[in-house]
Amino acid sequence: MMSVDTNRSTGLVATEEEVREIVRQELERARRQDATARRACIIASKGTLDWAYPPLILGSAAAAAGMDAAIFFTFYGLNIIHKDFKRRLKVSPVGNPAMPMPVPMADAFTGLPGMKGMATSMMKTKFRKKGVAGIDELLEVCRESGVRLIACGMTIEVFGFRETDFQDGVEFGGAGAFMSEARRSHVTLFI
């Protein structure tokens, strides 16, 4: 086996295997000290009931795993952190051929009045029966575990919202604030 003379003054010699082990430990130490590996930055851009789940689930899972997590709510995603989110978050079968329907239905019928309400209550019932946490519970978990909920100022303006329309604890920021977070986060997701 090849030997590497690591310390000429003392005459100590390390084997290649020992050097590799030292390098491995140093890399592991550096990885542990890498703060960006413990940060997650998520954009929530959709405002339907089904798409409200992924950002909240991933944000709370990140916090549970000891990460600093931030979710930026922009465009329709603002619905999720609106005080009236329970009424605003709906799901529609229109344009979603993957959505399971109780009876087979032509696309033209999925847009009829009442369909959105039916699909929404169907999903809520199904999720509750299966034991999936509600949006309110996930928001609570996020708040309790320190996930930052940040609302996009520009879209608030465009949609005519006021800052007081949003839930307690919501912060406000823009693309600059997101980028500043994102460049220090290994995990960045656009949802």
């Binding site: 413990r38 991933l58 899972a61 549970a64 795993a65 000891g66 034991g131 999936v132």
Partner: protein, 83 residues
């Protein structure tokens, strides 16, 4: 399989992702290094989630049992050193 002695028991039956991991992380925060948390879940996703969570948070998944309808995990609290 030998029965492990736990310091705390957490019932996550009926919960789905991400709640078992959220509850585990909350319970673990109240334990001391070396103490063991026993968790029971019915969410099959826990088979992957629990060991991944333990590894990322510097804790140890000592043992787990697949009892068919329920899954049992024994997690030992680490000394606080992350990952």
């Amino acid at each position: 399989v030998a029965e492990m002695k736990e310091d705390r028991f957490l019932d996550c039956r009926g919960m789905l992702c991400p709640m078992p991991v959220v509850r585990v992380s909350q319970q673990m925060a109240t334990l001391r290094a070396g103490q063991v948390l026993k968790v029971v879940t019915t969410d099959r996703g826990s088979i992957a989630d629990m060991p991944a969570w333990a590894q990322d948070t510097g804790n140890e998944m000592v043992e787990w049992l697949d009892e068919g309808r329920r899954l049992v995990f024994y997690l030992r609290k680490g000394d606080g050193e992350l990952m």
